[in-house]
Amino acid sequence: MKIKVLYFAQLREKFGLSEEDIQLPETVRTARELIVLLSIRGGVWSETFDGSQAFRIAMNQEMIPLDTPLIDGAELAIFRPVTGG
């Protein structure tokens, strides 16, 4: 399964990356498993996803809970809680 992941605001700056395509290993099926996959990259990735900071995940432009199964070809987005208005 292949997905696109977008990063916004603080996370985009921290990772120095606004988007990437990821070919997922068979073992990664949910949003939570994707976060684990990203966190084992180390450095700013493990720091961001070590549980100390809140973040939100959207799939195909709708916010989703962590246990949501990922859909092949989906557009994922990961960002800190929103601050508009």
Binding site: Q10, P81, V82, T83, G84, G85
Partner: protein, 157 residues
């Protein structure tokens, strides 16, 4: 329950400033069934967390932003009797005193327009993918979300 067929709902996300008077006139048009219009305008403050704010930069998630704002308007129109509602939210760089966001709600009686307006802002602040970066004399910093905003949105559940 679904929104009344004639409920006019619209959303615009733009870098340009907006004109409240013009937006008001466009929303009301010639609809004589409207008896109440509530307007909320959010502006850039010059002080936040005891620091001078020189400028504010707003980033968003194109596509999801519009989708999320439309969902919020539809939810409001299902819950209250509205003749119309409109959101204009700015993106990009803004300065103290500038307008950031406008929410207009129109209904036959004021209760619906007031409550729907409040609901729309509460959800916009917790659901719509916008992020604010403040520029202070010490440099830029991203604004952190506040628990009080989550609590404000939760009261409508």
């Amino acid at each position: 329950m679904t929104a009344h067929m004639s409920t006019r709902l619209s959303v615009t996300v733009q870098p340009e400033d907006f004109d409240l008077g013009r937006e008001y006139a466009a929303l009301v048009a010639d609809d004589r069934s409207i008896g109440a219009i509530v307007a909320f305008v959010g502006t850039v403050r010059d002080l936040n967390l005891a620091d001078d704010v020189v400028a504010l930069e707003l980033e968003h998630y194109p596509g999801m932003t519009e989708k999320s704002l439309n969902n919020i308007l539809n939810a409001a129109a299902e819950r209250w009797s509205l003749q119309g509602a409109r959101i204009v939210h700015r993106i990009g760089k803004m300065y103290p005193g500038d307008q950031i966001v406008m929410v207009l709600t129109a209904s036959a009686h004021r209760g619906d327009a007031y409550e729907a307006n409040n609901f729309i802002m509460d959800y916009l602040k917790t659901e719509a993918p916008f992020w604010k970066k403040e520029w202070t004399p010490e440099g830029p910093r991203w604004i952190e979300a506040r628990d009080s905003d989550d609590k404000a949105a939760a009261r409508w559940k």
